[in-house]
């Protein structure tokens, strides 16, 4: 399997404060990678840097073998980086359909396929995104990312704050995307939900890659050390 995404020794700052101290990570074609860590360890910063929404001071972001470290966010997205951001972040005053078509790029995922994938979005087609429930907004955020026809889907806390039944629905949708061969980089705090899907795990600790390996190798000792509250 070839690498879709390679993060090499990422160094990122917020003003004078360094947030990432050399994060390394790789996602291979068709692989689902879980990016984990306690709050404030740099997961969202890593996702935002990958999507070129934050500038790099050191290291490199390679996507499909190409160095995209200097590309603006919209160019990175056009190459196939589909972001489902933390907190959904749909366009609140656009309808569901407008949210979806704004992101549309040529490829197998079109409006009809996204609506078939999430029938709820079909039912809410003309409703403003701001008026959707949390679960529906999450479906919209995933649908919007799919409309960009990504090679890699980055899911930042895709089920945060949702009711258990909706979380289950979202996770089964993500599992279905994985079974179709879409590469995934997922951030989530609920290990019982993210680990069954993950082929590979990366744990961040204070802005550094503290551990990485196969999901089955993640022992209780490691989770206690890096992920325990």
């Amino acid at each position: 399997m070839t690498a879709v995404l390679e993060l090499e020794a990422l160094e990122v700052y917020y003003g004078a404060s360094q947030a990432l101290f050399g994060v390394n990570l790789e996602v291979r074609e068709g692989q689902a990678v879980a990016l984990m860590g306690r709050n404030g360890m740099g997961k969202t910063t890593t996702i935002a840097t990958t999507c070129r929404m934050l500038p790099l001071r050191g290291g490199a972001v390679r996507f499909g073998g190409r160095d995209i470290s200097a590309l603006p966010a919209f160019r990175a997205a056009r190459l196939g980086l589909g972001l489902v951001p933390e907190g959904r972040r749909c366009f609140p005053n656009l309808s569901v359909t407008e949210n979806l078509i704004a992101a549309a790029r040529p490829g197998p995922w079109d409006l009809a396929r996204v609506r078939a994938f999430f029938p709820r979005l079909q039912e809410r087609a003309d409703q403003l995104a701001a008026t959707l429930s949390g679960g529906e907004q999450q479906m919209l955020a995933i649908g919007r990312a799919l409309m960009t026809n990504p090679r890699l889907l980055l899911l930042d806390e895709a089920t945060e704050g949702l009711a258990p039944v909706i979380r289950q629905e979202i996770w089964s949708a993500i599992a279905s995307l994985k079974s179709e061969g879409l590469s995934l980089l997922m951030v989530d705090k609920t290990l019982s939900e993210i680990l069954p899907l993950a082929d590979h795990c990366v744990i961040l600790e204070r802005g550094q890659t503290a551990w990485q390996g196969k999901a089955k190798d993640l022992t209780e000792e490691i989770t206690d050390m890096y992920l325990g509250v």
Binding site: F74, A77, R78, F91, L94, S95, A102, L128
Partner: protein, 325 residues
């Protein structure tokens, strides 16, 4: 009735009223009313142009009079050379509206591309000031352009012609303006419903979020700004033909302000907002202007009331909140 249906009904009523009032005036031989309706239609076309930039894209251009003036001067200069039989840069002048409109849109679009490429690198007050500065440059350039009248402006002795119609007759000129207005409204509605419109509105709501899904904020806004300038330029060419006169006043900052007022009064981003806004503005000018020379004071109070209590303008007041305001 939901807001969307209310808005469509209101739009249909406005379109019908704008046609039926001058139609009645034509039957009753009231050319003044027809000319007023033509002015409303042309100002509404300019408003539709600005509505693309301001309403959909959130770009508060305080210099759109520049494109109105460019369109006006293209019409005036072409007619001037056609009338005197003198060439412009080796080419003959023309008194045909269709090629004049094409040239007006081309020139307006080219200037909008330059203005947009520079001003869209800024936002907020800086964007407003840069667009104003460019319009003022146009204003002072035409003011000191003696070949085409300078401060005194340039008269159009014979109104330019439209194939198959006699534009010297107010009703037939109105038909031209009304037809173009419906066409530009169609362009606006199509843009808004397309991916382009959704992307533009997404950028207005959050440019960083839009960039994360592959939308180039600068590129999309620039295209919108150019289209906006082109439509406003078209309105300028038509306005020059209506008044048979073009002067630097068409590019004055007060004109840019009037275009913004039209959008705010009618409803920012609403399809028929510019039609409603232009009707209110011209209505105030004619009816209250006849009663008092301080009619703009009353218009100012109405504008204040709209901004404070009816931010969706007239359309929003009647049809409710915008689908994507």
């Amino acid at each position: 009735m939901d807001n969307l249906r209310k808005e469509w009904l209101l739009n249909a009523l406005l379109a019908a009223a704008l046609f039926m009032v001058p139609f009645w005036a034509w039957i009753a031989s009231e050319p003044f009313i027809i000319t007023l309706a033509t002015r409303i239609a042309i100002l509404a076309i300019a408003g539709v142009g600005l509505n693309i930039a301001l309403g959909l894209g959130g770009m508060v251009s305080f210099g759109h009079a520049l494109y109105l003036g460019i369109g006006g001067y293209v019409a005036g200069i072409a007619a001037h050379h056609a009338f005197h039989g003198t060439p412009i840069l080796g080419l003959p002048g023309t008194n045909q509206m269709l090629p004049i409109w094409a040239i007006a849109m081309l020139f307006s679009g080219a200037i909008a591309a330059i203005v947009g490429a520079l001003s869209l690198r800024t936002s907020g007050i800086f964007f407003i000031m840069i667009t104003l500065a460019f319009a003022q440059m146009g204003f002072f350039f035409t003011l000191s352009w003696p070949a085409y009248g300078g401060e005194d402006g340039l008269p159009i002795f014979m109104r330019n012609q439209f194939p198959g119609l006699n534009t010297a007759r107010p009703w037939e000129l109105f038909l031209v303006a009304y037809g173009v207005l419906i066409l530009t409204l169609g362009v606006f509605a199509t843009l808004r419903a397309a991916r382009f419109g959704a992307a533009l509105m997404a950028i207005r709501q959050n440019p960083d979020r839009a960039a994360a899904i592959g939308i180039s904020p600068f590129g999309i806004k620039l295209v919108a700004f150019i289209l906006s300038g082109m439509i406003t330029g078209l309105a300028g060419a038509m306005m020059a033909d209506l008044t048979r006169f073009v002067s630097p006043a068409m590019m004055a900052w007060t004109m840019s302000g009037e275009l913004i007022v039209i959008i705010i009064l009618g409803g920012v981003g609403r399809l028929f907002g510019p039609v409603a806004g232009a009707a209110i503005l011209v209505g105030f000018e004619v009816f209250f202007g006849g009663l008092t020379e301080h009619w703009k004071l009353w218009l100012g109070l109405v504008l204040l009331a709209v901004v404070l209590f009816a931010r969706g303008g007239l359309i929003g007041l009647i049809a409710g909140r915008a689908q994507n305001g």
